[in-house]
């Protein structure tokens, strides 16, 4: 079973919650943890990992290169580039490597064959054995590179090599390319929000993606007590999809500062997550039937 944890809004507690659920699942099931946030892979920190053992460089991106000698300056490539990655500077045509997606449109349109597409090493896949005896697979998009969604796909493929009962995918914030890659093909989505107007609005945004792929989901409100009025409103809005709520507790920050798993804390957050986990297990069992 593949479960994705997503939220739209950043900083609402995806990785914290994902790490807790993985640890709870791992007591009885064979699990694989997947950090799909390749810009800011932080799930490892919640699982006590600061160093990555095996790194495998990958190339999921290509970029265009213009041969100055062959270029006749017709400008067709600029007009055709959907990513606005080609610029004319001092009569010279240049590819901005930070924007080029290597789609080849420019090469196809160039009348004098002045453009070549070359693969670039844009990231890496890392596999760690956690001290809890399950693997963490995470990816890293090299700073300034493109192709984050494809790295997510790559690391999801890697997860398949391990065999598992439950795989948890910790999605990045937003609803764009790497998020779509994280959500696509999962069996269940846990949507985390916080009771702020932004959190609620972003919950509705990520829900559009989850509904697009017709993935069953449940909703969790984190830090519910920073705004109990809006929290009640979201709870009511979520109806039967409401999985539970988690309090705001500074002890959660102590956990991450000391790299201690949230499940080992004496914070009330820990028992609240346990309760949510039990409800989730019931729900997933019903879902299977």
């Amino acid at each position: 079973m593949k479960i994705v944890v997503a939220s739209g809004k950043g900083g609402v507690g995806k990785s914290m919650l994902a790490s807790a659920l993985i640890l709870l699942f791992s007591k009885e099931k064979k699990v694989v943890a997947c950090d799909c946030d390749v810009d800011a892979p932080n799930l490892g920190l919640w699982l006590g990992i600061t160093e990555y053992e095996t790194k495998e460089k990958i190339s999921t991106s290509e970029k265009a290169f213009i041969d100055k000698k062959k270029c006749i300056g017709c400008g067709k490539c600029i007009g055709v580039c959907n990513f606005r990655a080609i610029e004319k500077r001092n009569d010279e045509f240049k590819v901005n490597p930070f924007l080029c997606e290597g789609c080849e449109a420019c090469k196809l349109v160039c009348p004098v064959n002045a453009i070549k597409i070359k693969p670039v090493k844009n990231g890496e896949i890392r596999v760690n054995k956690t001290k809890y005896n399950f693997p963490l697979i995470s990816g890293k998009l090299y700073v300034g590179e493109t192709g984050s969604g494809k790295i997510v796909e790559e690391l999801k493929r890697k997860a398949e090599e391990f065999g598992y009962d439950v795989a948890i995918f910790d999605s990045p914030a937003g609803i764009g390319c790497p998020v779509i890659a994280s959500v696509r093909g999962t069996d269940y989505a846990i949507l985390v929000t916080e009771p702020t107007p932004s959190g609620f609005s972003d919950l509705k945004r990520i829900l559009e993606i989850v509904n697009h792929f017709q993935i069953p989901y449940g909703i969790i409100i984190n830090k519910w007590d920073i705004n109990s009025k809006l929290s009640r409103k979201i709870e009511k809005w979520a109806k039967e999809k409401f999985l539970g709520k988690i309090s705001y507790d500074k002890k959660v920050i102590d956990c991450i500062v000391n790299l201690k798993p949230i499940t080992k804390s004496d914070s009330k957050v820990t028992s609240e997550i346990n309760k949510i986990f039990d409800k989730l297990i019931d729900l997933l069992d019903k879902e299977k039937k």
Partner: protein, 274 residues
């Protein structure tokens, strides 16, 4: 006009809060300010400013549409598509999987029979709100399901810059999305100054390093905003600041009053925090 960006790889560290506080601070100094919400996937500045998004203006992207009369079923389009968004079985028409399509155009350029037409579709929208005298908000919003949001950011920013020139604004403040990939890069380009917002936790430290590496590559001068400065441990943040030759120029203490102001759309009264 100066372009100032509020960014930071980690989500929920206070990018939008800082961008809005900064806008109010400049307003107090009698400047003309435009705030541009470039987090087109999850735009929130309008909510924090208690605004409604009205008068939507479309942002288009082109997607492929097959003209079956012209198609010779050669399959070349499926071979050139690097996104694997075109599914083709021999002797059949190709099928476009729009979820994967980035509108790059490689298929219609390469089709030898001109059988792939361009279909204009709305990929996003933008809005302009006048908040008060000398203060405008430009908001971009991608259509849910659109995967490549970088081009939408570019378009929204272009509109904000046009507006800034028209009204002769002093500052354009860009609020970026979390992360560090193409949509953030597009938002940051051409900034005169970047504020990297972070928090004093190992998560904040890791993510700060990412954004500082990015702005270094993009050659953009960057200073650090430390939010919730009195929570957690700041030693690592200071170390990173030194390593990147940057400095912590703004500190915002943890404040329940600030959270309340954020939730109720009253950040203006918190302007003295920065």
């Amino acid at each position: 006009m100066k372009i100032i960006s509020s960014s930071g790889t980690k989500g929920g560290v206070g990018k939008s809060t800082f961008a809005i506080l900064l806008a109010f601070k400049m307003l107090k100094q009698k400047k003309k300010v435009i705030l541009c919400d470039c987090d087109v996937e999850c735009p929130n500045d309008y909510l924090i400013l208690k605004q409604k998004l009205k008068n939507s203006k479309p942002i288009y992207q082109e997607f492929p549409l097959l003209n079956e009369k012209k198609c010779k079923k050669c399959g070349l389009c499926s071979k050139v598509c690097r996104e694997h968004a075109i599914f083709w079985v021999e002797k059949n028409y190709p099928k476009f999987i729009l979820d994967l399509c980035t509108s790059c155009g490689a298929c219609w350029i390469s089709c030898p029979n001109n059988a792939i037409e361009k279909r204009k579709e709305i990929a996003g929208e933008f809005f302009v709100n006048k908040i008060k005298n000398n203060f405008w908000l430009v908001t971009g919003k991608s259509k849910a399901g659109i995967s490549e949001t970088g081009p939408i950011v570019k378009e929204v920013k272009k509109r904000a810059i046009e507006l800034a020139k028209r009204i002769d604004a002093d500052y354009l403040i860009i609020d970026t999305s979390p992360g560090a990939h193409c949509n953030v890069i597009q938002a940051l380009l051409n900034s005169d100054k970047v504020y990297a917002v972070t928090e004093p936790t190992p998560l904040g430290a890791y993510d700060l390093r990412v954004i500082l590496e990015l702005t270094k590559k993009l050659n953009l001068p960057t200073e650090i905003v430390l939010n919730k400065a009195d929570v957690g441990s700041r030693r690592e943040i200071e170390k990173i600041a030194r390593k990147f030759n940057s400095k912590i120029s703004v500190e915002i203490p943890y404040s329940e009053e600030l959270i309340k102001a954020y939730c109720t759309g009253n950040l203006e009264k918190m302007v003295n925090l920065i």
